[in-house]
């Protein structure tokens, strides 16, 4: 039985605790937050035996096998280091660290201590993402990816997080190198990193403050981002983050030399995009039937999962945590290769460097420089 502890008892810790409690072979034994009342409320609701306000006390008393670090990212390196040094495997919420230098340090330490770490990129472990990965491995694309598109939308409309963030000038997310987008884009960027074989992608980033945020008097938080990526194998990618685009998409598209795939995380739909076209008018009549069949198959699949009671909102988290725990138990490779974690971090560094180089508060638009990035 793996003993699991959570450090940081804010909003995201809830979904960790809920999914950990659904996984066999592990037990959530302690929670820690420097604000004792926050640790108490998590323990109260999830029947966790012990709470702490000090990380060292938790590590010394409970000696957990695994620690989930769900604090603001400013503390990930410090707490992660302490946990690894105390012999714990760690799962670090996204964004993994503040920058790739910190990411390298944590990974090096994990390797040195023979511990496993992973990052909370659970969108890569949704049912659709797992199916997509399988199809790519089976060669559906017909070769290495030619082009990738990743959309990651954000809706200010009903998000309490956004209200808190906008009202609080000292919110921790504002102090991140990439501000608001730093805390949000990792999921969409990690999906791209998974399918980039190269280590030195070129990045062109454009970021600006949306008219909506400007109308609220916001002059520092960039909430619109467009990125072009080109790696040394000539795979290209577009990344779009938008708070204003409607519908607010969480979509991933990948195109190979023969076929493509489209994954819609919101609708939980995976569509095959065959590259082969039919002759003449047949191209206009047969594919709609075929696509209708695919959409119907997605509906049938979703209903089947729902009836099997395996269609939870946080299914990706459960899958990621299960794979992580299995890799610990079986001494197997981590669920997310360290190369991908680093590449995601490096690409984000480059984006933030570009959008930070222009005066966002006055000129609205930031970025547009071309930068070569050395990923490894």
């Amino acid at each position: 039985m793996l003993k699991v502890a959570i450090i940081g008892c804010g909003k995201i810790a809830d979904s960790h605790a809920a999914q950990i409690s659904r996984i066999a072979g592990c037990e959530l034994v302690a929670a820690c937050d420097r604000e004792e009342l926050m640790a108490v409320q998590l323990c109260d609701r999830f029947q966790i035996a012990q709470h702490f306000t000090d990380v060292n006390a938790l590590l010394a008393t409970v000696r957990p096998d695994v620690v989930h670090i769900t604090t603001p990212p400013q503390y990930h390196l410090q707490i992660g280091t302490r946990c690894l040094e105390n012999g714990c495997h760690i799962l670090v919420e996204k964004p993994f660290t503040l920058h790739s230098g910190q990411a390298s340090k944590l990974i090096e330490l994990a390797n040195h201590k023979h511990r496993i770490l992973t990052v909370g990129h659970d969108a890569q472990f949704s049912d659709g993402a797992c199916q997509l990965r399988k199809l790519v491995k089976e060669g559906y694309l017909g070769g290495p990816p030619v082009h990738i598109e990743s959309y990651w939308g954000y809706d200010f409309g009903d998000a309490t997080y956004a209200k808190t963030l906008l009202a609080d000038r000292h919110h921790w997310a504002r102090r991140l190198p990439g501000g608001l987008i730093h805390n949000i884009i990792s999921h969409g960027m990690a999906k791209i990193a998974e399918f980039l074989a190269g280590a030195k992608p070129r990045i062109i980033a454009l970021g600006f403050i949306s008219p909506f945020l400007q109308s609220l008097g916001e002059n520092s938080l960039i909430d619109e981002l467009r990125v072009i990526i080109h790696d040394e194998n000539d795979t290209t990618a577009y990344f779009t983050f938008s708070s204003q685009m409607s519908p607010s998409l969480h979509q991933f598209r990948i195109f190979g030399p023969e076929n493509g795939l489209l994954l819609d995380e919101d609708k939980r739909i995976l569509i095959k995009l065959p590259g082969k076209s039919r002759k003449s008018y047949a191209e206009h009549f047969i594919p709609p039937f075929e696509f209708a069949g695919q959409y119907f198959a997605n509906l049938r699949h979703n209903i089947k999962l729902f009836l099997k009671m395996d269609f939870h909102m946080d299914l990706g988290k459960k899958n990621l945590f299960s794979d992580f725990y299995n890799s610990i138990k079986n001494d197997a490779p981590p669920p997310i290769p360290y190369r991908e974690i680093l590449l995601t971090s490096v690409m984000m560094d480059s984006i933030f460097a570009q959008i930070d180089s222009a005066p966002a508060s006055s000129g609205k638009i930031a970025g547009g420089e071309i930068a070569a990035v050395h990923a490894m």
């Binding site: 804010g10 809830d14 926050m38």
Partner: protein
């Protein structure tokens, strides 16, 4: 704007007219009315703790109308330093502020309980605080096993586990009440907890969930013949202010509801007629209870595939046939309605229609 000819004065006893009073959330829906009520009573040494510039123009209008030199403190209740500065020399605190919480338990808890703890710590440290008035909610009641059967009053048991019905707000408010009671008893500071029902008035746009919900595209009318525990915002503010001023009510709890409460059906009919047509479907109580039961069981069985937002406990708390008593605020606070229910509903529906 206030009628200066009917200015009230501070009640004799605990608080003197020169004493400094702090209102948190003074620029909120109820806070503005509490401020106005205090100024009407001649209490001018008021400090307003505000987090954002929302309703700043209305605050200025009130200050100008009473020629009051109000102190505005812009800060964050999550900051102990801000709380310490804001509570300096304060004798009475009206704690109305509600931070954004939504459906997230940690967010609701962090924006409700932690600020309250900070405020109490800071207020008690200055040794000038005499009374703390905490604005709680009806949501903390279980509405089950009531001593007076269908009547809900202050003796109704609390829901010890609002988390099981997925009610983050109720969970946070329950723990806030407990914190206030524990802290004030230990610090020997008087406290009063007030629990308003559904506060309404111009500016409040949504229909209270006690009438029904519109989650699934059509308004599901669940209240039926239930009374809606409305309290018009001016009446609510009156009770809150009295809870800070009336002597001899240490550690008391007061529910705030108006007289002549409309039924849910009556309210919805008026809303459709006066504001705009609403497509609604009525769920009789037995049916809504059964559906809540099914949802609850499925949520448990599926380990949260459906969140536990509908349950029998939630049904008891919000949609069970209940009558509401305001005997205690009348008897112990001397509370009377400033605005009749008929007048209040008229003002509210007019403002909804005009989109105010």
């Amino acid at each position: 704007m206030p009628d200066h000819t009917t200015e009230k004065t501070a009640l004799d006893g605990l608080i003197r007219p020169s004493d400094r009073i702090l209102i948190t959330g003074a620029n909120g829906f109820i806070g503005l009315k509490v401020l106005e009520n205090l100024l009407q009573r001649g209490l001018r040494n008021v400090r307003c703790f505000i987090r954002s510039s929302r309703n700043a123009d209305q605050l200025q209008k009130i200050a100008a109308a009473f020629k009051a030199d109000l102190h505005f403190y812009h800060g964050n209740l999550l900051s102990q330093a801000d709380c310490s500065k804001a509570t300096k020399d304060v004798t009475l605190i009206y704690h109305l502020a509600v931070g954004p919480g939504g459906k997230s338990f940690p967010n609701a808890f962090m924006n409700t309980v932690i600020p309250t703890r900070n405020l109490l710590t800071a207020g008690c440290a200055h040794n000038t605080l005499k009374r703390f008035v905490n604005v709680s909610s009806f949501a903390v009641y279980s509405n089950q096993h009531k001593p007076r059967l269908r009547w809900m009053d202050e003796s109704c048991p609390l829901d010890e586990h609002p988390e099981r019905r997925g009610d983050a707000y109720a969970y946070a408010k329950l723990h806030q009440d407990r914190l206030v009671a524990d802290y004030c008893r230990r610090s020997q500071v008087e406290y009063v907890i007030v629990r308003p029902g559904a506060v309404y008035g111009p500016g409040k746009k949504s229909i209270t969930g006690r009438v029904g919900i519109d989650t699934f595209g059509i308004f599901m009318h669940l209240g039926g013949s239930n009374q809606v525990p409305f309290t018009y915002v001016d009446n609510c503010a009156e009770a809150i202010v009295l809870a800070g001023l009336v002597p001899g009510i240490d550690q008391e709890i007061f529910n705030i509801v108006d007289d002549d409460l409309p039924t849910s059906r009556r309210f919805l009919t008026l809303y459709k007629k006066r504001v705009h047509p609403v497509r609604s479907i009525y769920f009789p109580h037995a049916l809504s209870y059964f559906l809540c039961f099914l949802w609850e069981k499925y949520a448990q069985l599926s380990e949260g595939q459906l969140p536990p937002v509908f349950s029998r406990a939630e049904w008891h708390a919000y949609w069970k046939k209940t009558r509401y008593s305001n005997e205690k605020i009348k008897k112990k606070l001397g509370w009377t309605m400033k605005v009749s229910t008929a007048e209040g509903l008229d003002r509210y529906l007019t403002s909804c229609r005009n989109g105010d």
